[in-house]
Symmetry: C2
């Protein structure tokens, strides 16, 4: 079973509810409660799937688990209001013992505290299996929240930061782009049409945004911001750095669709570079355009949670 | 490490936040978001800890996982507004395979739908470890939410249903007391002072409510509603049924403290029996009173998540 197949199967059965303006399929769900909207997310990090306690510390794992969830808050351009954590703690081996549990709790608390986000609840249980850290986040939208579904033909597609090669270490140490997303929304206002975070790589995540928006996209390979880690990985494995930038997962950068008129608003907005990588199209196809203007089919590659880092 | 020790350690480090009127330590946390209060809970069910796929189906496990979380909503006398689920799915063995994942999802969705609660988000990953189902719930309070901390000296302590022996099967099939809690709150109004659900057994959960309330309690052993399953278990293991009712976990019934003046309001409220089992005291001690009026020390027993069902 592939994760995407199961997600597709779930989406078809998700149903609708008057209380739920945004359900399964976006970075967070939106639920109406008395007088407000609660944005919600759950996300897990598993030993030897999302981290590896033979090489990484429990604190690194915990920090990643929280920051992945906070990155989804960034994707909605909302502030994290609270997190909860659930720990399945191994009785023996990596991650076992009271000190380890305490380190995990403190690392989760510290990661959230960087965004003034309190850890308000948790659940712990011991078992004779590997460490699992599950994080739920509550987000509070400022004026509005951003979805994947608002991209419009003619929009410019942007990514933050630089992409590829996160497996060399950045997948554990990234900064959730909460403040950046907030700034982009504040500056671009209604010109900001759609946003998501890049968790599975551009090659998979661009199609998701376009499918949600009912649009297509042209992405210019020459404009992809390639991370030095992608170059480093390329030197090791011979796969072009540009393909790493396109297909590697766990960048946790922002992908957003902006009205061209709003583009000047976000120039020099932040120390984090913002790169225009392509254009949203009315035709529902996806294409890569090289520097000579030649069109290439969309790569099928992309990171699914089937392999271990 | 015992779960209670870790929870105590966490409580000491939880800190406070202006956004959080109720943090770690109650059945749910309360968080202020624009114009409202979000009640939040996370809870996990692990194979061979909370269920056993050698004997139970994946659907049973999923139903239990959701209902445990909904039982916490009942404990706050709130309605579940939405749930999210995170599934760590085994690659092989019990609970593996696409059909199993689909059954789990549908069972979670169905369990929540019984309370008009939509499943709004999820996360799935495959690993070569056992099944873990983590559920997060968002609750919406009607007029107010109930905590463990409001019991007052002189209050009558009540439990719903009958207690003990849930291990014989009820731990998988119980009904979260959401509607009952709502009715009690509606009828008793301000006379309802404190409420929680019985997850670890009266012997552990009464002290928790009293500690949160800064009170003590006297519980009359002769007034404990003993479930037929407790009698059945007693016949098997020779432990008195009353001790099973007191110390067994996973009853998922309500424990609540009621102003004596409000007691007449809840008579014949529901098909679920409500039993007055004791009195809240100003003196911060706990005692069992037998039918002859003799005082006995509080039993240390109670179910912690160290052992398998």
């Amino acid at each position: 079973m592939r994760e995407n197949d199961f997600l597709r199967w779930i989406n078809e059965r998700a149903g609708s509810h008057t209380r739920v303006p945004l359900g399964i399929g976006d970075d967070m769900a939106a639920v109406k409660i008395s007088g407000g909207i609660a944005l919600l997310k759950i996300d897990q990090c598993l030993d030897r799937v999302h981290f590896d306690l033979r090489r990484h510390t429990a604190q690194q794992a915990a920090t990643k688990a929280v920051n992945r969830c906070l990155s989804d808050c960034a994707a909605m351009a909302c502030r994290p209001a609270a997190i909860l954590i659930s720990l399945a703690l191994p009785r023996e081996g990596p991650g076992s013992g009271e000190a380890s549990a305490q380190h995990i709790f403190l690392a989760c608390q510290a990661a959230a505290a960087k965004f003034d986000c309190p850890l308000v609840g948790g659940d712990t249980a011991l078992w004779d299996q590997r460490l699992a850290i599950t994080v739920a986040a509550l987000g509070a939208a400022a004026s509005r929240y951003l979805t994947r579904g608002g991209a419009k033909p003619g929009d410019t597609l942007f990514v933050s930061g630089a992409l590829g090669g996160s497996i060399l270490g950045r997948h554990l140490t990234f900064t959730p782009r909460i403040e950046l997303a907030e700034k982009i929304l504040a500056k671009a206002g209604d010109g900001l049409h759609a946003m998501m975070d890049l968790s599975d790589g551009l090659a998979q995540d661009v199609p998701r945004m376009m499918a949600a928006s009912g649009t297509g996209a042209e992405v210019h390979t020459g404009q992809l911001p390639i991370h030095p880690d992608a170059e480093k990985l390329s030197a090791q494995d011979g796969i072009p750095a540009g393909l790493h930038a396109l297909a590697d997962g766990e960048d946790y950068e922002l992908l957003f669709a902006l009205d061209p008129e709003a583009v000047p608003e976000i120039v020099n907005l932040s120390d984090v570079p913002l790169s225009a990588i392509g254009t949203v199209t009315a035709e529902k196809t996806l294409a890569l355009i090289d520097d000579s203007g030649n069109r290439h089919p969309w790569p099928r590659a992309g990171w699914e949670h089937r392999t271990q880092p």
